[in-house]
């Protein structure tokens, strides 16, 4: 190894970077670790950046949240908005100190509103990114062994993110979030046996009490973010240890992983992407008004606004609550309220199923192998179908969470929206499964057709027999019947002539549209690499057979 060279003592570094490295290495003996870290490969495929959006919006949340904490007063003490306050429509109105300080951030802190809005928008982005990232991982089978643990960590992050978001949304103590808080109290009350105790424990007495904002505040700024940060560290740590998964292509195998080196490529791109995510959040925060609590008014239990919805990530629960029929269980002088099923049991089932899915799938397919190569959704029609089914289920619930707004916007009866949602919830998911399954099979067949017959060239040829045929360009070597002998390798198959070789803009989107042909020098290097791997596999298998 390089570090064990005997003449090392006498060799002072020549470059400034070397001198800096030497300074640290003398104290930390970090050269080897640093070398490995700087050379580590990170994914460069676009679909791998969705998790990064979540990470970066979390950082934006931490930055803006810290700013807001300098001004926010998490207290439910009753105050009166001063008669000479900036926002005239609140003059003399009784409100909590939390609500007043939110108004002050909005109207009396220069630039406070834009930061508050960036914070709220990036919260929406954080959860959206996690959901999109989860879909990518699910549909490509990236959750399979050895990554089940990371799937579970990711799922916990989504759950915690939802709670963190809801708790933060409750802090301003405005009419909208207060209504949400009251529903949250009703959800706690609905839990059999321990419901009332839970509610009194959290609220410190009957709803709303006077300590809930303080408790939510510490949960929002310390407890939950700390857990989230630890889990994110574990999530990324596991990716570093296990290395990322990737779509199959030459050089991307179960034994080798492609990507770009940390320094300088990934480092620069990741920093750039952080700025872009921050920038998009800033654009939203500046250009689109979010959660205008000054329009909603302070919370009092006697008031409500029509069209009350939670933020998007809670909307599916609101939808399930709207759709659930009026079923109540009354047993031995006890009640299980209808609210219990759609708000406690349903998310419990959804999260349990999602968490168990990698293990269920491994069991059902009897698959104990490690998988580093991703699958195209079409190649696993059952999983893809199940995923579409789950997404459809989620989407119906999500839309039902805003069904009053939809009813108003499109002049549909509210009752019809509720019934439509109930029926759609039962009918659409199985249909989505069947549809996705069929589409997958069709795409698979098409891939294999092209592999066998080649790409349609659009050139029509008149045979001597008078027959017209379309000329097909084979993708590789053919057998004596002119049929391609390339096997399907789980990678995209070019379907049109302009996806072959020549440059098209789409082709640059790697993994989904990349070219089949590599440059000659790359081709040679890859051949060499594969030969080496093959040899390795053989040498590894050799002795094993002997011991058997």
């Amino acid at each position: 190894m390089t570090t064990t060279a005997p003449t090392r003592r006498t060799d002072a570094p020549r470059t400034p970077q070397g001198k800096l490295a030497k300074f640290f290495d003398d104290r930390l003996t970090a050269a080897r670790w640093t070398r490995a870290t700087l050379n580590k490969l990170y994914p460069d495929h676009w679909s791998f950046m969705m998790g990064e959006i979540a990470l970066y919006s979390f950082i934006v949340l931490l930055l803006t949240g810290t700013y807001l904490s300098f001004f926010f007063d998490p207290s439910m003490t009753e105050v009166v908005y001063p008669k000479n306050g900036t926002y005239v429509p609140m003059h003399g109105v009784t409100m909590s100190a939390a609500y007043k300080s939110t108004l002050d951030i909005t109207f009396d802190v220069r630039g406070g509103l834009v930061v508050r809005q960036i914070h709220h928008w990036s919260a929406l982005m954080f959860l959206a990114a996690m959901l999109v990232h989860m879909c990518r991982v699910f549909f490509t089978g990236a959750f399979r062994k050895p990554r089940e643990l990371n799937w579970l960590i990711g799922l916990s992050l989504i759950g915690l993110g939802i709670i963190e978001g809801f708790v933060g949304y409750s802090l301003p103590d405005d009419l909208l979030s207060g209504t949400g808080l009251r529903i949250a109290d009703a959800i706690m009350l609905s839990i059999p046996v321990i419901g009332t105790w839970t509610s009194f424990l959290i609220f410190g007495g009957p709803f709303p009490g006077n300590i809930i904002i303080g408790r939510f505040y510490i949960a929002h700024v310390l407890l939950i973010p700390a857990i989230i940060a630890v889990l994110i560290a574990a999530h990324i740590g596991l990716v570093v240890i296990q290395k990322h998964s990737e779509f199959p292509r030459r050089g991307h195998t179960e034994k080798t992983v492609g990507g770009e080196r940390f320094m300088p490529y990934y480092m620069t791109k990741a920093t750039a992407f952080f700025f872009i995510v921050f920038g998009v959040c800033a654009a939203l925060g500046g250009l689109a008004q979010i959660n205008p609590v000054w329009l909603f008014g302070p919370y009092t239990p006697s008031q409500v606004s029509s069209g009350s919805q939670p933020d998007w990530y809670m909307m599916f629960l609101d939808g399930s609550t709207r759709l659930f029929p009026s079923w109540e269980i009354r047993l031995w002088h006890h009640t299980v309220p209808p609210l219990f099923w759609p708000t406690v049991v349903l998310p419990g089932i959804l999260f349990t199923l999602a968490g168990a899915f990698p293990f269920i799938e491994a069991k059902m397919t009897n698959d104990r192998e490690k998988h580093h190569l991703l699958q195209r959704p079409r190649d696993v029609p059952v999983r893809t179908g199940l995923g579409c089914m789950a997404l459809t289920f989620y989407l119906v619930l999500f839309l039902s969470g805003g069904n009053d707004i939809i009813a108003k916007a499109f002049n549909i009866s509210l009752n019809a929206m509720t019934w439509g949602g109930r029926i759609a919830l039962l009918i659409l998911p199985p249909l989505a499964y069947l549809f996705a399954y069929r589409v997958c099979l069709g795409l698979q067949r098409h891939d294999r057709e092209v592999l066998e017959h080649g790409v349609e060239t659009g050139i029509i040829k008149l045979l001597p027999t008078g027959e017209y045929i379309e000329v097909h360009q084979p993708l590789g070597p053919t057998d004596e019947h002119g049929h391609g002998v390339l096997p399907y390798a789980g990678a995209p198959v070019p379907k049109r002539m302009n996806q072959l070789g020549a440059s098209t803009p789409l082709r640059h989107i790697r993994g989904f549209f990349y070219p089949v042909k590599e440059k000659p020098e790359i081709q040679a290097a890859l051949d060499e690499l594969e030969a080496r791997e093959q040899a390795e596999v053989e040498s590894a298998e050799g002795p094993k057979q002997l011991t058997d």
Partner: protein, 295 residues
């Protein structure tokens, strides 16, 4: 707009809808900063009425010219107004509400006791004359101008009594805005929403948006309780409280959003759309670009 056979009074006399006599279209968008005084708008509207009335004179309707400014007369309208209202009634309303205003079963309800306030609200918001039978009569362009509406109201009130059309300024002073906000959130926001965007009620009925509502339409609606809306009498909400509510809503509607585009001020649904389409969409484009191979 929906009645093809309606005479489009405003267009015919070359008025922009923005200064329409009913003020219907003028309310929501106030582009230019207007003078501090609240009465200015009302005066402008009255001015428009006067011009309109002059136009009517030129058409041979001599009578209208004498009552050019209805609010000049706070005690109510004259006998000639009632007479004119009666004529309008017999042309446009009689088929549904009957010759004696007692309604026709299956056509229209009795108007005995509804008062001028109800007539003013229904006619000035274009809900009456109705075009068809539905769960609700939607707001549309008014068929009659302010003058005619007041005359109709006077006629109906003269026959059956009931709450009359309030006169004078119906908007409370600036220091009543906050009180109006509290009252609005307690009494009105449950249906019309905290930002006045309206909401669906059961089975196709709606609480309409207040976007286009004028001061007087709001007050007459509270007084008369049109369709499904509960009645708020002057004992329940004093005239001052009503004016405060009007002041709050009109302030809300006229204030510009300090936080960028209001995205319709309907809360989390539009925010969800913007977050997914705008936010996630923009970042997806960025991702495709960053992840694109540049070889």
């Amino acid at each position: 707009m929906k009645d093809d056979d309606d005479i489009d009074v405003e267009r015919e006399f070359g008025f922009e809808p923005a200064v329409s006599a009913t003020g219907a279209a003028a309310a929501p968008s106030r582009e230019k900063p207007r003078p501090r005084k609240r009465r200015g708008r009302l005066r402008r509207r009255l001015g428009a009425t006067a011009v309109l009335s002059l136009a009517l004179v030129s058409m041979g309707s001599l009578y209208a010219a004498f009552a050019a400014s209805p609010s000049a007369n706070d005690t109510g309208l004259s006998k000639t107004d009632i007479q004119a209202g009666r004529q309008l009634y017999q042309v446009s309303c009689i088929t549904c509400h009957g010759a004696n205003l007692d309604g026709i079963v299956g056509q229209g309800p009795s108007l005995i006791g509804v008062g001028g306030a109800a007539v003013y609200f229904q006619v000035s918001t274009g809900r009456m004359p109705a075009t068809g039978q539905g769960a609700e009569n939607p707001r549309k362009e008014a068929k009659f101008d302010e003058q005619q509406t007041e005359q109709l109201a006077a006629y109906v009130e003269s026959v059956g009594g009931g709450p009359s059309v309030p006169q004078g300024s119906l908007r409370g002073p600036d220091d009543a805005i906050a009180e109006g906000g509290v009252l609005y959130r307690l009494n009105c926001a449950s249906c019309h929403g905290v930002t006045g965007k309206g909401a669906p009620l059961s089975a196709g009925k709606v609480a309409p948006s207040l976007n286009d509502a004028t001061d007087r339409q709001m007050v007459t609606a509270m007084l008369s309780g049109p369709e499904q809306m509960p009645v708020f009498s002057n004992n329940q909400l004093t005239p001052d409280q009503k004016r405060a509510i009007v002041a709050y809503i009109q302030t809300l509607k006229a204030s510009k959003d300090p936080g960028g585009a209001g995205i319709d001020r309907i809360g989390p649904v539009s925010e969800a759309i913007v977050a997914w389409v705008g936010g996630v969409g923009a970042i997806m484009i960025a991702i495709l670009w960053i992840g694109a191979r540049n070889r």
